[in-house]
Amino acid sequence: MISIRLPFAGQCLALVLLLLIFSWISLFSWSVIAITPMDALHALYNMNAESIAQHIVHDLRLPRVLIGIMVGANLAAAGVIMQGLTQNPLASPSVLGINAGAALGMATVSSIAPWFGLLGTSLAAIIGGGIAWAFVMLLGSAWRGGNEHGRLVLAGVAISALCAALTKAVIIIAEDQAAGVLTWLAGSLTDARWQTFDSFWPVCVIGLLGAMLIAPTLNLLQLGDDNARNLGVSLMWVKLGGSFLVLLLVGSAISSVGAIGFVGLLVPHMARMLAGQDHRKFLPIAMMLGACLVVLSDTISRGIIYPAETPAGAILALIGAPFFIYLVRKRTL
């Protein structure tokens, strides 16, 4: 265990500060047209309409940062809920097939019926993710309870592989749409605009509030199904409600920026190290950590082969994989 044992309020404050700093850096760094740190601040509350730099900050960078924050918070919260519902430390949107299912849904609609537009692909992503998640839960017999950890993860891997294969088939069949789908598959905030933000934030707010509301129930689930039931938890409703929240959080996030992996798997574990096992504490910590991580990765993704961009999802994997190895070695997951 890392022994950064600030009190809870202190941790929240530190993370908010960190998030503000990362966001600010992200607003002005790595731009072809030079943006000063002050430009970034002015663009927020005292915009000079003549300054191109400030326009870039306001029209391109700001929505991008905000969407990054929401995506990070959403995926981290989804990971926390999934790990709580399944009592499986490996549960996350990417491991349990939701990302792959959503990718398949999105690729299918954008290749076969591109005229559906953004709303259509978003819906397709949510429906695809939902179907994949339902299959994984059924195959892994997670509804019946018990400690079938291995079976659930195997089901997730199998469904992911199936969805990935089908996605590739769809891309090959509809080659002209392939580039867009591939960028989306890697997960990138390049195309994050105010338009995306406008359709994203209401779902994000509802999903995150819902997650906070079921946090006390997730606490009881860690005592095992029998104890949770005995303490008055209606397991079926919690599992259905929790799954719905996961789909809302993951679906809205990946239909906005693509299949960003690792956040949902890693951040809950990081948050537990910081804040302990009480979901009412580590869930908000996880949301903030997730937001920091995605904003940071997005900033780095712009700098690494500047002036071109790499997908933020790739940077996250670069940061995430070593940390995951550390976790695996540190404790038996």
């Binding site: 509301l213 946090a215 006390p216 606490n219 009881l220 860690q222 005592l223 095992g224 029998d226 104890n227 039931r229 005995n230 303490l231 008055g232 938890v233 209606s234 537990r272 302990g276 096992q277 009480d278 009412r280």
Partner: protein, 255 residues
Amino acid sequence: MSLSTHNLSVGYHDKAIVKQVDLSIPEGKIIALLGPNGCGKSTLLKAMARILSPMEGQVHWQGKNLHGISSKKLAQQLALLPQTQPIPEGIKVKDLVAYGRSPYTGFWGRINRDDQVIIDNVMTETGIIELADQLVSELSGGQRQRVWLAMTLAQDTPYLLLDEPTTYMDLSHQVELMHLLRKLNLQGKTIVTVLHDINQAARYCDYLIVMKQGEIVTQGMPESVLTETMLKDVFSLNAQIHQDPIAQTPMCVVE
């Protein structure tokens, strides 16, 4: 009778473990469920706590089908201590015991002053108050069992269903536990407990229910239930019944 089963069959994977049991739990008593391993004691207890759904028949709570009652309301009436418990990671003793108040807590699981009084009380009664700040995962088996018991007691229900509560406990803690059950009984709680020690059951319980192969063989006061023929039939034991020199309750001595 407040808690009763009617033609109840229940089990796992289509196989009935408890078979067509009709049973009324006498109110205000300490009741021991006895029987050899695999006879369905735990299964019956779980069905009465609604952890398992009946395959056939019903469990009634105050004349109503148990499955028609809301989860939270039921959790204020019945508390079950399961036989095998998980070892939760990173949870402190006091927090685990506090989870026992969940059926009562208001918005967002907030613990109020009354809850805290109950939590402190049960931790004192179960002798774990000094362990309050330790992690549950770092305790010994017997200590952990007392922590789970404390959580169950914190639920403060008129009915307690305990599945082998003495597991992992040394003899002195077992005796302490039985005394605690008596005290709780005097406060008006009805307690149904699975026990393996027949003499302990005869000494501390008012009513014995003996099961064999999913059916109830006999039930009643210890004096009428604990007989040499019953021990022979149910446990395949050759034993004699004597009187406990201190409590004057029946006591079996194996030949």
